[in-house]
């Protein structure tokens, strides 16, 4: 198991936010977490990333307790604009991850170029984040996370504030990237269809306090396609089965 939550509970003061979460994420697996807003999805991701302290139980990365952020775990935040450095160019933002890894600056250009190409940002290396669209800014944040060369990508509603078309493009790119680069992904979303479309498994959380309601294996073939996959009868079955967890 790459990532594991064992009886994980988180409380903010006296208020329980997550209770007894048991979840394992296998190597190279793409696991999506859905749930109504306020169910603790983001808290679960932050606890696994080492950003939010755990009240009881444990979060494990490769069997070792997560006590704080570690470079093997990268986080893609929903609010990309707040996560980027507005005073650095696109290339400079990616370089930040390389600086953290003590990679000599003479190697930066050669490492940044393929990442920008992969995310479709090759022409924008000298621009500043404020000159990019929301979708491009989110691509930049993903590029920076990849420059970190993490084993696990923790994505917190990464496409939640993007328009539908951009969102579909990025879904396909992230799915392809995860498979090609053999990365483990934990993907938080409130969009049930997005979770089914992307996930090898979908974890549905129930709210107040956040706990696991159901875990469903998604047996849809890969690579998935926006039209064909969503029209697959099994896709609709999963949707019906999981939909009740999103009702209040």
């Amino acid at each position: 198991m790459v990532l594991e939550a064992r009886n994980l509970s988180v409380s903010f003061g006296a208020q329980p936010v997550l209770r007894d979460i048991d979840l394992t994420v296998a190597e190279h697996e793409f696991v999506c977490v859905v749930g109504p807003s306020g169910c603790g999805k983001t808290t679960l991701l932050r606890a696994l990333a080492g950003l939010t302290p755990i009240s009881s139980g444990s979060a494990l990365f490769k069997g070792r307790p997560v006590t704080g952020p570690q470079t093997e775990l990268a986080v893609v935040f929903q609010d990309y604009a707040r996560a980027l450095l507005p005073w650095r160019t696109v290339a400079g933002n990616v370089a930040l991850a390389l600086e953290a890894r003590h990679i000599p600056s003479s190697e930066h250009a050669a490492r940044i170029a393929p990442l920008l190409a992969k995310l479709g940002l090759s022409a924008d290396g000298d621009k500043f984040p404020s000159q990019l669209s929301g979708g491009m800014q989110q691509r930049l944040q993903i590029a920076r996370c990849l420059a970190q060369e993490p084993e696990v990508l923790l994505m917190d509603e990464p496409f939640g504030s993007l328009d539908a078309i951009t969102r579909q493009q990025l879904q396909d790119e992230v799915a392809r990237m995860a498979k090609d680069d053999k990365r483990t992904v934990l993907f938080i979303t409130h969009d049930l269809e997005e979770a089914i479309y992307l996930g090898d498994r979908v974890v549905a959380l129930a709210p107040r306090p956040g706990r696991i309601a159901e875990i469903v294996d998604i047996a849809l073939p890969r690579p998935r396609a926006q039209l064909a996959t969503r029209e697959d009868p099994r896709f609709l079955e999963y949707r019906h089965r999981l939909f009740r967890h999103l009702e209040h």
Binding site: A74, V75, F77, R82, A83, A100, R101, Q148
Partner: protein, 234 residues
């Protein structure tokens, strides 16, 4: 355009002085103090006094910036530290900087350092307060990004917190630059026999109102130039 008003004032002044309505003992007249100023410029005394005053002010600003930004960044990042030091800061801050002149004289003697130390004390507070607020206002998300990328705390401060807070910090430094000039000239007028402040005192004692006015306007012109050089450019 902005020059029209001061030029009109100078012209009126000249007329009133020539008509004997303004006392020449105190007000001199613009034509005279331009002559006095040009003479002081030509013989080099004004420039060397300017260098003296402004290098003391620059020293003060540099020291206050280093100390104020460093401490301000720590206070902005760590609430408990701020709480621990709040009383000390609140007790020291109301001390008028010029009240430190006698003490500074004992420590530094009649030297550039004496003026610089007093001015640095005065400049330290606005920079400290502005930096503390600006660093506290830095988006927590940026700090988290730094932690997730694996930067140690000093690097998070240097690469993320301070650059993000820089626009605010620069405002503090600009305000402090004006204070540095004011306090430096004050120390020179009150005690330190150096620089432009002392030049004005000596000119006044020598009953040379034209030179006092020339020096005063000169401080205004150079101060304006410093402010312009530090200000945001469009």
């Amino acid at each position: 355009m902005g020059a029209a008003f001061p030029l009109a004032v100078l012209a009126l002044w000249e007329v009133l002085a020539r008509a004997g309505i303004l006392s020449e003992d105190g007000f001199s007249r613009p034509s005279r103090f331009f002559v006095a100023g040009a003479k002081a410029l030509a013989d080099g005394t004004l420039l060397s006094q300017t260098f003296e005053t402004f290098s003391a002010a620059a020293q003060a600003l540099l020291i206050a910036t280093l100390a104020g930004v460093a401490l301000g960044a720590l206070l902005g990042l760590f609430r408990p530290l701020e709480r621990a030091l709040q009383l000390t800061i609140d007790a020291l801050r109301p001390i008028p900087s010029v009240a430190l002149i006698p003490l500074s004289l004992l420590i530094f003697g009649f030297s550039r350092g004496m003026s610089a130390a007093v001015a640095a004390f005065a400049c330290f507070w606005p920079i400290l307060i502005v930096t503390t607020a600006a660093v506290r206002g830095v988006d927590r998300r940026l700090i988290e990004v730094g932690r997730l990328l694996g930067f140690p705390l000093p690097k998070i401060v240097l690469k993320l917190a301070l650059p993000a807070a820089l626009p605010g910090i620069l405002v503090g430094i600009r305000v402090a630059a004006g204070i540095a000039i004011v306090v430096t000239v004050t120390t020179e007028i009150v005690t330190n026999p150096r620089g432009l402040g002392h030049a004005m005192t000596m000119a006044a004692e020598g009953l040379q109102p034209d030179l006092v006015w020339a020096t005063l306007l000169w401080i205004g012109v150079v101060g304006w130039a410093v402010n312009w050089a530090m200000g945001p450019k469009r």
